[in-house]
Structure formats: C-alpha cells, structure tokens
Amino acid sequence: MSLSVACALLTLALAQTAKPAATTPTTGAAAQPRPAASSPAAPGATQSPATSSTPSELGAQQAAQPAADAEPRYPEFGLSLDAAAPAGVTLAFVYRPVSFVRLWVGPAWNYLAFGAEGGVGLAPFQGAVTPVLSVEAGRYRSANVKARFGIKSGTDANDPSVLLEDVAVTYGSVLLGIEMGSPRGFSFGLRVGLSRVWLKMGRTATFSADQNGQPTTLTLVDPTAGGVAPALKLGFTYWF
C-alpha cells in the first residue's frame, strides 16, 4: 500500500519533470517573464520588431529586457515528507529565501518517539534534476525502548536492559543527492550521506559480581551509545 503511494508520488514527480518547458521556465524562452508572455502584445512577439513595433513599443520591450534576464522567481514555501535512515520520518515546512537555498523545520518520528528536525539545503542550480547538498539535525524525546519493543526485564539483578528505559536520540547528517521534478510544484528527492547519532540513556545501571571472593560493584551513570553510520533519505516536496 505504502509502496503504491510512493510509486504514485514518484510518477507524479517524473511527470512534472516531463512537462513542457513553458511550465519550468529555467532555460531559453521559458525563462521569459510571465507578464511578457501573456500580455496583449504577445501575438506579435514572433514578428520582427522592425516591422511590427512602433518606436515607443520598442522602448518598452528594451526596458523589459533586464526583467527577462533576471532569475525567475520560484515558490518560496513548500511542504516536505521524508523518510530517512537512521533519522526517521519528517514532515517539514520548507522555506526557500533564494533559489539555491532551502531551510526546513518540522516534527519528526522514529517509531520510538516524536521529535523535531531542522536543516539547510543547497541546490546550486534549478532544473528537472537538481543536485542537493544538505546538513540537518534532529532530536527526539526520551523513550522507553523496552516498552516499545516489549522487552521483558530479566530476573537477574544485573539486568542491563534497565538502561533502555529512558533513551533520547539526537542526530546530525550530511547528505548529498538529487531532486527530480519541478522546482515550482512537486519534486522527489533521494540523498545519501553520513549520520552522527547519539543515544543518551538517562538511567543508572548497577551490576554486582564476586571477584576472587571480593564483592565488586560496577555502576554505569548516563552512558551514551552512538557512532557514524551511512544515511539514506527519500522524500517528496510540494512547492506552493
């Protein structure tokens, strides 16, 4: 079911890619400003200015030329839905202050708990297929991993699973990948990279043993596990 939805969304993103250039004004005539293309003078735009325009019209066209060379405006806001490993699922509000920068923040979920993620992405140029470099970080609320996975407490007094009763996940990722689709509408993204993950355990575990007849206790306070792992992120963005 979820695979079908993902395939449908991917198809939609590819369909956006395949649309005529007029809807993705990034190159050639498509880069002309919309008002010029839809103005009443447009029918005459294919004729030579020397034969069809008065001097005053020529002046107006020359004045409009800088606007045509200017970078086309893209929607500033978007909504994205991403699934990533090891980060989790994020629904984010995306802001594009300039065409090559995306900032996002939103709630996240990793099966254990809810949290939040924020990030910044750089897309050096806009097109149907766009490379994207992103840096992001997130943090989840503390969760009882034992309860979530139904891990039973051991009968042994030295049960280490007590450490799993309060685990908070924090991560940061550097990802590189591509976005396919329209920078004005729907796009699909695939990125790979590295994630630094920290699992902070807020419990204290005490183990006791007998070493050569001498009782010995070992107490672990606030241990943290983690590391650097490969990361994968798939997601969709709708710009509006």
Binding site: V174, L194, T216, L218
Partner: protein, 207 residues
C-alpha cells in the same frame, strides 16, 4: 571497484574530522567500580608480601596491595586492532565503615599519611616487584591534610589513559598506604570513579 567508489564518495565528507569514518562508540562519563567491605590488614604482624618493601619491613611503614583485574575473557574487543578504549581514573574514594562494623579499634583514617596508586605494566608482570614499580605509572595520589578523616579521596591522574592496559586484557593496580604509626586492621568501602570511551572502527573492518 564498487567499494572504492563508495569510499571515495564518503571520505571527503569527513576528511577534516580525522579519525575513523564509520564507527560505533560507547561513552560512559561516570563508571564506578566499587569494592565494598574491603579488608585492610593490621601493620603489626603483616606478612612480608604486604609490605611496600619486603626487604625492609616497618621502614617505611608502608603496606601495599595489588588488585588484578583480568578482563581477557570479559572484554570482547581485547586485542582487536579496530577497537580503541580511553579509560581515565577520576578518583578513588576510601570510606571507613562505622566502628560497629570494624574488626578492631580503628575509628578514623588519621594514621594513614599518604596513598599512592600505581598502574603496573603487564609486560613486566613476571619481574620482581622493584622492577615492576620502576616501570609503573602513578595514576592517583593522596596526602592527608585533615587531622582525622573517615573518608579519603585520592585524585586520579586524568592524563593517564588506562585503556591500552585494559584492552591488553589485564589491569594491575597497586595501592600503597603509608602509615604514621602501627595501625589496627580495618574495613572500608573502596570506589574507583572512571570515565570511559570505547570506539570501534567498523569502516576499517569492512574495507
């Protein structure tokens, strides 16, 4: 070929960070090893092997005890070249038990002038003790400043990494207690506070 391409793609991302690219890590900022109810022998009648210098009993008035921790079969990463362990001793606390639980007449630790903890080099484990001491590292020391303490806190030498000793499978710590005068036997709780960072470089393991 595919692995090389994968490596080439990832390495630049962390090239400036140094260290392994892909690794797992366990950090324990506070690791307490407790020896509750540890018995300290009386100076009078202590066997020669209990003296810091068995050839000169009573001068100085120093008793020593070596604690051997053999982790060879307990640390699964021992001798694994992809594992690194940073273990630092923060402090050792000797807390005298209440008089009711003492075997003798000791009510405080006023007779202890100083405490020195040495880490013995396992490479010299079979050598005479004077040779072992010559190759040891002082990891904690204490000089009494209070007149009659019941708790002694020996500050650890945070510059000494005990990790390589632990990864070699054995940790031998020699405690030397210098007395002001003859002391009766006593019982105390001894606790060592450590910090630990265990890192496993699985990037090197895979590639």
């Amino acid at each position: 070929m595919r692995r090389s391409l994968l490596a080439a793609a990832f390495v630049p991302l962390l090239a400036s960070c140094g260290g392994p690219v892909l690794f797992g890590e366990v950090t324990i900022p506070e690791l307490r090893v407790g020896l509750p109810g540890l018995q300290f022998v009386a100076t009078a009648g202590a066997p020669p092997e209990f003296w810091c210098d068995p050839t000169s009993i009573g001068d100085p008035m120093c008793l020593a005890r070596t604690f051997d921790y053999d982790f060879g079969d307990k640390v699964p990463l021992a001798d694994d070249p992809n594992a690194s362990l940073d273990l630092r001793l923060t402090a050792v606390t000797i807390s005298l038990l209440p008089p009711a639980q003492q075997p003798g007449t000791v009510t405080d630790l006023a007779l202890i002038d100083s405490v020195t903890l040495r880490l013995l080099d396992p490479a010299h484990a079979g050598d005479p003790m004077d040779v072992q001491i010559a190759h040891s590292v002082v990891i904690a020391s204490y000089v009494r400043t209070e007149p009659a303490p019941t708790v002694i806190e020996v500050s650890g030498n945070a510059n000494t990494n005990l990790g390589p000793y632990l990864l070699s499978g054995k940790l031998s710590i020699r405690a030397e207690l210098t007395y002001q005068a003859d002391s009766d036997a006593f019982v105390a709780d001894v606790e060592g506070d450590y910090s630990l960072v265990l890192k496993y470089d699985y990037w090197s393991k895979i590639f």
